[in-house]
Amino acid sequence: MSDLYSQVVNSRIGGLVASNVGLPQPVELDRFVEGAPVIRGEVLLGAAPGGRLSAPLAGVLVSIGAAVRTELEGDVRAAVGETGIDASVWNPDAAGDQHFKALVFDASGIGDSTQLRQLWEFFGPTIRRVETSGRVVVLGTAPEDCPTPRAATAQRALEGFVRSVGKEVRRGACAQLVYVAPGAEEQLESTLRFLLSPRSAYVSGQVVRIGPSERRPEIDWERPLGGKVALVTGASRGIGAEVARVLARDGAHVVGLDIRPLEPDLDRLMGEIGGSSIAVDITTVEAPKLIADHHAAEHGGVDIVVHNAGVTKDKTLGRMDEERWQVLMEINLSSEERINDELVERNLLRADGRVICVSSISGIAGNAGQTNYATSKAGVIGMVQSMAPVFAERQATINAVAPGFIETAMTAAMPIATREAGRRMNSLNQGGLPLDVGEAIAWFASPRSAGVNGNVVRVCGQSLIGA
């Protein structure tokens, strides 16, 4: 997993050379540290006039104990005053050497394209004041939830803004857009915590939709998954192993699943994180029943299901044999559908249940030699979107992560040219870590992510490939 290039450009001489010849300069990204504050630095909070998210945003910032700044005048300041934050003042005309760890802007008040100017006014003087591993979060209303075509147009425009900001901000900073449905204001916290914290180190240029939900359980934010049972398929190695570690770190009891030949690795890991193992081949006919029976017997149900197991079997379409197509489709997609159905039918997925799938950039953008893989991963997106209403009825959610270039044994085995292209062709100029995928999954898994349903969020450092 060693990224030699990153090591070189982060040395003094290497950095000098890289900056002079215009090579990409990846920085070491901030990542989760046990016991550290959610955000290490000041948050600048702003809003377009008439927005509805200032108060809920301020509420979240109080909850995470963030140091906040706002402009002295305007609704945001009043909202912040009400919630109990002793916020400092930001005045772009007396900027000095002020820097921010995060810029958070409530754009929900923008009801017309002429008001998009508010973005320029807020971010113009501040965007170059974002610190290393900083965050830009814009919040708005999804076009489909807007009352007028003009409002929907302006709100849709935010996507282009945020994606461009993601490409402009440097030094490990990330930019996201969060569409908050009317009535979903109280569902913001888990998402904002994730996006402001180092947990979202490799997530950038993403659009997250938050919908209303009646579920809002009180949780211990230090151990958000305390008391939860989480099934992770393909948990013995790579991304799956790291997902298991993160969920266990956040308090879950992990049931690791993998095929029998990998059982020794699986058992070792589960021993390490206090989980338990089941050796099942998910493509078999009896697998859904075996898994359901196990959870019913051992845990009385399941709270979190992470469909991580997946394979690639690359070949151009004309040369692809049936096995490559069919086995892959079974593992990557069909088995997941069957397992979901079994758990739902037998009512084993508990309230606040979370199903989290792993899609891929290939599933979004397509990839030569991966018709089978891309089909399965696009199918995963289809499953998330089609099943979201079904799960919502059961007070559960289904979402997917779509990893980009993640540093694993698989990517380490790539030819150097392909590998370097994959690593550098994203806004952060580096590959992500399996940890980064785990963090995104843990965010979806949180009992407080009840409003996050039917989302596909890429963990790709804003890869140039895909939307």
């Binding site: 706002t70 109990g84 002793d86 003042v89 005045n91 005309d93 007396a94 000095g96």
Partner: protein, 435 residues
């Protein structure tokens, strides 16, 4: 003990023009200057040979020999030598605090008349002996035989000649007041332009006050100085914009133009009961109604060093059931333009007012046309303890001139302190036992 209080009239004031440090008063002592200010007031108010209730005054920078400075000044003045006097000290709040103390005694019926004031010199500063040298000299003084004396003398070292010079720095932070204020300016997002505008207005207003004769009966010429030496009648925002920052580093917004310079001067104000006023044929200019002091924890809680008036004023307003807008004139001491602007911003800020003052809504905006209408410390300069007397007398006269109204005084002081007061044209019984 008298349970009822009575109004305290402000009858007259006098000061000497303020001089820049090592300027016109380079050779004058605190005693010289305050005696001159007193005698000017004695002459103006016809107090020659009269015994007053007391003279309360102080100096921030004081020589050890001046342990009884105010009393010595009285003895050197034309007042009856039977007028008692005492020194007080509350940094830059000294002058106003002296007025509060004197006024309270009048309000309670403990005295009928008093002079309150203050003086400071940064030219004739009290340079002290090196602490090591001081200890050796004390030992020498205490020695009883030649051997002991020789032992003490043998401890003398050349380095001990370096004296202790008073510094304009907070002992607990080591930061100068200017650096503290630069932090506040940054915290509140105060711009360079706002500060320079305030400074230019200060000079403009003071120059206009001189020109229309407003200062004539507030001031007595001294050592050839007829106007404040620091006053630049032709000061403009454009000229001020050319100055380099002196506090807050490269990006700093504070300059010599929008900060007060070190200076020398003295002031005195005559206060009295209505009975005394009538009996001595005076007419009150205005009345000293109420006062409040506050302090902030600039060390532990990191509140801005000069933010205490922002806390003192709302407490005083609440007690008097007044809003910040219920004033016709505001005298906010311009220690630094940024201090005034931070204070005004704090009062407008819903967050500060809720979180730190515990108020439901902000105190709000003041009409800037009513602020320091006859100039402030940026133009007149700020000989620390002399500023309170300058402001009390000037505000009383301004209220008298407009024939009525209410004025607010706000003075910040070192050590994170603030002294504020209300002055009204019409007689009001000061708050006290009826609270």
């Amino acid at each position: 003990m008298n349970a009822k209080t009575r109004p305290v009239a402000i009858l007259a004031g006098n000061r000497i023009p303020f001089a820049r440090s090592n300027g016109a008063y380079a050779k004058a002592s605190n005693q010289d200057m305050f005696t001159a200010a007193l005698d000017g007031l004695v002459e103006r108010a016809g107090l020659s040979g009269q015994r007053l209730g007391e003279v309360a005054a102080g100096a921030v920078l004081k020589h050890s020999r001046d342990f009884n400075l105010t009393r010595e000044c009285v003895l050197g003045s034309k007042l009856s030598h039977e007028t008692p006097a005492y020194d007080i000290g509350q940094a830059c709040g000294t002058g106003l605090e002296a007025a509060i103390l004197a006024a309270n005694k009048i309000a309670l019926g403990q005295q009928d008349s008093a002079i309150a004031g203050g003086v400071d010199t940064t030219s004739d500063a009290p340079i002290a002996l090196n602490d090591d040298l001081r200890e050796i000299l004390l030992e020498l003084n205490n020695a009883r035989c030649t051997t002991d004396r020789l032992k003490a003398v043998a401890k003398l070292r050349p380095g001990q000649i370096v004296p202790e010079i008073p510094r304009n720095a907070e002992p607990r932070t080591g930061l100068s007041m200017g650096e503290h204020t630069a932090t506040m300016a940054k915290e509140w997002g105060v711009t360079r332009l706002e500060q320079d505008e305030l400074a230019a207005a200060s000079h403009r207003n003071l120059a206009a006050a001189y020109d229309r004769g407003f200062m004539d009966d507030l001031l007595t010429a001294y050592l050839g100085l007829e106007r404040d030496q620091n006053l630049r009648a032709d000061s403009t925002v454009e000229k001020l914009a050319k100055l380099r920052p002196v506090f807050g580093g490269e990006d700093g917004t504070m300059t010599a133009g929008n900060s007060t310079p070190l200076s020398d001067g003295a002031s005195a104000v005559l206060l009295a009961s209505d009975e005394w006023t009538k009996a001595h044929g005076h007419t009150p200019l205005a009345y000293f109604t109420d006062a409040e002091t506050a302090a902030v924890d600039y060390v532990g809680k990191k509140e801005g060093l000069l933010m205490a008036p922002a806390y003192a004023v709302p407490r005083m307003l609440a007690r008097n059931k007044l809003t910040l807008q219920d004033f016709d004139l505001y005298e906010i001491h311009e220690a630094f333009a940024a201090q005034v602007l931070c204070t005004l911003k704090a009062w407008e800020d819903p967050v500060f007012c809720k979180q730190r003052l515990g108020l439901d809504k902000p105190l709000g905006v003041i009409d800037r046309a009513k602020l320091n209408v006859n100039g402030g410390s940026l133009a007149a300069a700020h000989p620390f303890a002399a500023t309170g007397g300058r402001i009390v007398a000037g505000l009383a006269k301004a209220l008298d001139e407009r024939g009525g109204g209410r004025g607010l005084i706000s003075i910040c002081a070192a050590g994170g302190q603030g002294v504020v007061a209300i002055v009204e044209r019409n007689a009001t019984t000061p708050r006290g036992s009826k609270r």
